[in-house]
């Protein structure tokens, strides 16, 4: 806990301070806790991300990273605690209401509409933001993500890497303010990972979008971010730059011990 | 009616030349070469058990007639699909029998629900129709000959006997639907007419198989006898529970159990001990006519399990129809109906009985069928001819004069009866 205390503004203040200067935190949690049966997956987490930041979330298996994401997107209801987004308490909002406010998410396991064509997948996302004819926008996005050639393929026939890219493309088609990526390069080749890293960095620099990325691969984290939060056993263990985290003996230990 | 449909059809298509096409509407004439009867009786589904003997009896009668040279020199064709105890299927098949096979007479349906489901079709087509199941009574319908015993006939023989034999106090349990409810009303009337007394009653849902609290309630009232109008395989569980609760010493009067579903053959003894059913016929009736009929049935159908009351009703009503056709000299349904409405005496396996032309109901040779601890059947007392008095005397149903299509109820607005036990 101590690691986060210094740099986290009290989200309650942020929430109540609607009329004042907007808090730099686009996202904050306050005492967030989630238990499944006897297991505490997330324990009293105060986590915050500033607008425009690219934050990496790392930790050993079972640290609660994906659970934290699901609490942020509303797929799980917290046992206790609150989630604030853009100064608003969104703890009780439905997932789709959170997406409406500018969140978007890529799942850990590649999750696209498998029996539909790539184009239909993109259309399904695009029609959230485009009225009228979808095709120009969809074509643009397909080109942007180099999926145009496989537009008429059934999504289940895509390679693993392409499926990941399709999902990222769909998530980005919503033009979100904040994008949550759960292991975006899992199972990708080194080249594909580098492409994704490049794309993320570009987006990060060119737009004011916020990114939170769960990642296992520390080399990939190195490519995209310098702010890293380490989660262990459902709690925030460390927070700092990639250098600090790399050199932290205790972090090494939990990683070695955890895996 | 067919002409009407054709007019509808012309109107609907709006095809100018449709009148010419009408000649092509050939569906109606299929199988119209000779006389045909429809036998639409359940051989599968819930009523397969009780419907199979009905189907078999009708077939047997027609086959015997054909072997004997047919009617008016013509062989009778049979249309006998299996309606599978499904009322929608009944509706389809009855339409098919009437329209496609143009049947000259129809035997169809076990339950009164089925009868009600097909009655609009029967009426619309003025189809000559024999409904042969024992039933609650009161159907005054110009197209229907309801030749089975009515509740008044069945209960009218068994309840007075019970009162004489065991005492006046009765407790009634009955299937919670139309048949059971109306039979229960008859029970009240007949108890009252014979000096009996109603201690209590309970309606049992059709699907119920648990009679624990019912038995407790009966024990609480401690009646001299129980009147049971339980129906179907589910309700048969009552008899086993009655046995295992040890109350077989309370005798039972019934209009349903044993005579149709032959529980005394299917349940292990002595669960039907002391059960008395008012019947017009069952295969145990030991007369030459009955034995001849039963032998013929088992000769013809090897795997037949029982010849029940309804089977006999189908059997004699086929012969009754034959006689009417011969007297009319034609298969024309109106002419045959006219003959039938003059009344007719029939020699049935149950004995000599009479058709009442005015109400389309029969007198019946009513007996009391009693099972002992080994489920052996005897018939205490003499068979008693009981007339179907309700429609003719109480309601004034006279179909030749006033061709109605109604069902009257014992406590309905047109009936003279009032509930003698309003507090129970």
């Amino acid at each position: 806990m101590t690691a986060t205390e210094g740099d986290t503004e009290n989200p309650r203040v942020a929430a109540s301070d609607r009329t004042g200067v907007r808090s730099p935190d686009i996202l904050a949690t306050d005492g967030l806790t989630k238990k499944f049966g006897g297991i505490t997956a997330i324990n009293n987490v105060d986590f915050s991300v500033e607008e425009g930041e690219l934050r990496c979330l790392i930790g050993p298996n079972g640290a609660g990273k994906s659970t934290l994401f699901k609490l942020l997107t509303g797929q799980h209801t917290p046992t206790s605690g609150h989630v604030y987004y853009d100064g608003e308490d969104i703890t009780d909002l439905e997932p789709h209401e959170r997406i409406d406010r500018g969140m978007s998410m890529k799942f850990q396991a590649p999750s696209v509409f498998e029996s539909l064509s790539v184009r239909e997948n993109m259309r399904t996302a695009a029609q959230r933001v485009i009225d009228g004819n979808l095709d120009p926008y969809v074509d643009e996005k397909l080109n942007e993500f180099e999926l145009a050639d496989s537009a008429d393929m059934t999504a289940s026939d895509l390679s693993h890497g392409q499926t990941q890219i399709l999902e990222i493309a769909m998530a980005l088609s919503l033009d979100p303010k904040m994008l949550l990526l759960d292991e975006p390069v899992a199972g990708m080749s080194v080249e594909e990972s580098e492409e994704v890293a490049e794309m993320l960095n570009e987006l990060h620099e060119e737009t004011d979008k916020t990114f939170i990325v769960i990642e296992h691969d520390i080399d990939f984290v190195d490519m995209i971010s310098d702010q890293v939060t380490v989660l262990s056993q459902g709690e925030i263990f460390r927070q700092g730059t990639i250098e600090e985290i790399r050199n932290d003996a205790e972090v090494r230990e939990i990683y070695l011990g955890g895996e | 009616m067919k002409g009407m449909d054709r007019r509808d059809f012309v109107k609907a298509t709006g095809v100018a030349g449709a009148a010419g096409l009408a000649g092509c509407i050939g569906g109606d004439d299929v199988g119209d070469d000779g006389p045909t009867v429809g036998i639409i009786e359940d051989r599968s589904g819930n009523f397969g058990l009780v419907g199979t003997p009905k189907w078999a009896s009708t077939r047997l009668a027609i086959e015997e007639i054909n072997e004997d040279g047919g009617i008016l020199g013509e062989e009778i064709d049979i249309f006998d699909p299996d309606p599978q105890s499904d009322n929608t299927r009944y509706q389809e098949l009855v339409e098919q029998a009437i329209q496609e096979y143009d049947v000259d007479a129809l035997w169809a349906g076990y339950s009164s629900a089925t009868r009600e489901a097909i009655r609009p079709i029967i009426n619309r087509n003025d189809q000559l129709y024999f409904y042969t199941t024992q039933y609650e009574g009161g159907v005054c319908d110009q197209s229907i000959f309801a030749v089975g015993a009515t509740a008044r006939q069945q209960l009218g023989v068994v309840i007075p006997y019970m009162i004489d034999e065991y005492g006046p106090d009765a407790y009634t349990i009955y299937a919670d639907y139309n048949f059971g409810q109306l039979s229960e009303e008859w029970t009240r009337i007949i108890l009252d007419e014979n000096g009996g007394n109603l201690l209590g009653e309970e309606a049992i849902p059709l699907e119920e198989t648990d009679f624990g609290s019912t038995i407790n309630r009966i024990q609480e009232e401690d009646p001299d006898f129980i009147v049971s109008m339980l129906v179907g395989a589910e309700h048969e569980a009552f008899y086993d529970q009655r046995l295992s609760a040890g109350i077989t010493d309370i005798p039972i009067a019934t209009s349903t159990n044993m005579a149709q579903g032959y529980g005394h053959r299917r349940l292990e003894a002595p669960s039907m001990e002391n059960v008395h059913c008012g019947v017009n016929y069952v295969e145990e009736v030991d007369t030459p006519a009955s034995n001849e009929y039963v032998d013929a049935m088992y000769d013809r159908f090897d795997d037949l399990e029982y010849v029940n009351q309804e089977g006999q009703n189908n059997y004699f009503s086929v012969y009754m129809w034959k006689e009417a056709v011969e007297e009319a000299g034609t298969f024309d349904e109106d002419a045959v109906k006219e003959v039938l409405q003059e009344g007719m005496e029939v020699d049935a396996p149950e004995g000599t009985i009479e058709l009442n032309g005015a109400t389309h109901h029969m007198t019946h040779n009513m007996r009391i069928m009693r099972a002992d601890e080994n489920h052996e059947i005897d018939f205490p007392g003499e068979p008693e001819i009981i007339e179907p008095t309700f429609l003719e005397e109480d309601i004034g149903c006279n179909l030749p004069e006033n061709p109605e299509e109604r069902q009257y109820e014992p406590f309905g607005p047109d009936s003279p009866y009032e509930d003698p036990f309003p507090d129970v």
Partner: protein, 325 residues
């Protein structure tokens, strides 16, 4: 029922009536449901041929008993026959449907259709029924079928048996692992195919046992299994997917409701109350009693006091609404 005129001692007997009726209803609900719940809870298959598995148990028991086997032997024969039958069906047909739970409903319905009619073709419209063992329990002016009360004891034993099988045996542990995550279980060396066969066989055996136990009390027609379906599905809806806890609590709750209304009012109201309870349960407890219990347990473990942890589920139960997870 007019209670004012009866002597006071009858009230005590009435309570006994109520208790026995409750035991009777409880046993019927639990036994009707167990086979269905095991196959559904463990394998995700809604077996619409559940009634016909009961039919197999009932017929084989009856045939054995009528042929002269002692009743207990006949029950064992009925149970085993159904287990073998279930395994054969699983091997030949149902194994194709494990990843298609919805299609398995169509398949099992088709099987049910064929089995009912096949039974009719082979055995006719009915077979001779065996009679109920034991006599009656007599108290005051009343009596009750001892056998039906004994079934309550059997049903409790069955529940305990299921609990032990799934918690204390190697098969049970492997089965639960397979149900949680078949891939991982396989990776850990569990022969998942075998587990599916055995689980299905176990569920079939339970359905067969139900048929065997109720065989002497019901009319032996090809539709005999249909008698259990309403109670079985109602118990699943109210109990939820947990085999032992959900089914036993559903049995207690629904049995009590049914017994009270049957006994104090009439069989009709007993049945209506049972069904009304089912409808209410759909609204109030979408995942059945199992869901509510898990919710309370989660809250307890989250460190709330018992009072506090009951508060929110009570609100959920009354006002509806559930969580997403």
């Amino acid at each position: 029922m007019d209670m004012t005129e009866v002597p006071a001692f009858v009230d005590i007997f009435s309570l006994v009536n109520l208790l026995l009726q409750f035991l009777d209803s409880f046993a019927f609900l639990v036994l009707a449901a167990v086979g269905l719940v095991v196959i559904f809870g463990m394998m995700g298959i809604i077996n619409l041929a559940h009634g016909e598995f009961i039919l197999v148990g009932a017929y084989s028991t009856t045939l054995a008993a009528v042929a002269g086997a002692p009743f207990v032997v006949a029950v064992v024969i009925g149970t085993l026959t159904t287990a073998v039958f279930g395994i054969l069906l699983e091997r030949s047909i149902l194994k194709r449907f494990y990843d298609r739970p919805l299609d398995s409903m169509v398949a099992t319905w088709a099987i049910s259709l064929m089995m009912i009619q096949g039974t009719r073709i082979y055995f006719g419209n009915s077979i001779t029924q065996a009679s109920t063992p034991f006599g009656s329990i007599n108290y005051g002016p009343y009596s009750y079928s001892a056998y039906r009360v004994a079934l309550a004891g059997v049903s409790v034993a069955v529940l305990i048996g299921i609990y032990l099988v799934f918690t204390r045996t190697e098969f049970g542990l492997k089965a639960r692992a397979t149900i949680q995550d078949a891939d991982t279980a396989r990776a850990m060396g569990v022969n998942t195919e075998r587990i599916y066969i055995l689980t299905f066989g176990f569920g079939s055996a339970l359905a067969g046992l139900t048929g065997a136990l109720y065989a002497p009390t019901l009319s032996m027609s090809p539709e005999v299994g249909q008698n259990f379906l309403v109670e079985a599905f109602v118990a699943v809806v109210v109990g939820g997917s947990s085999v032992v806890m959900g089914t036993s609590l559903a049995g207690i709750l629904l049995g009590a409701i049914n017994a009270f209304f049957s006994n104090v009012y009439s069989t009709f109201w007993g049945r209506i109350a049972l069904l009304a309870a089912a409808i209410l349960a759909i609204r109030l407890m979408p995942y059945g009693i199992t869901g509510v219990i898990e919710n309370i347990r989660d809250r307890r473990r989250a460190g709330m006091s018992l009072r506090e942890s009951l508060k929110i589920p009570a609100v959920t139960v009354l006002l509806g609404g559930g969580s997403n997870d």
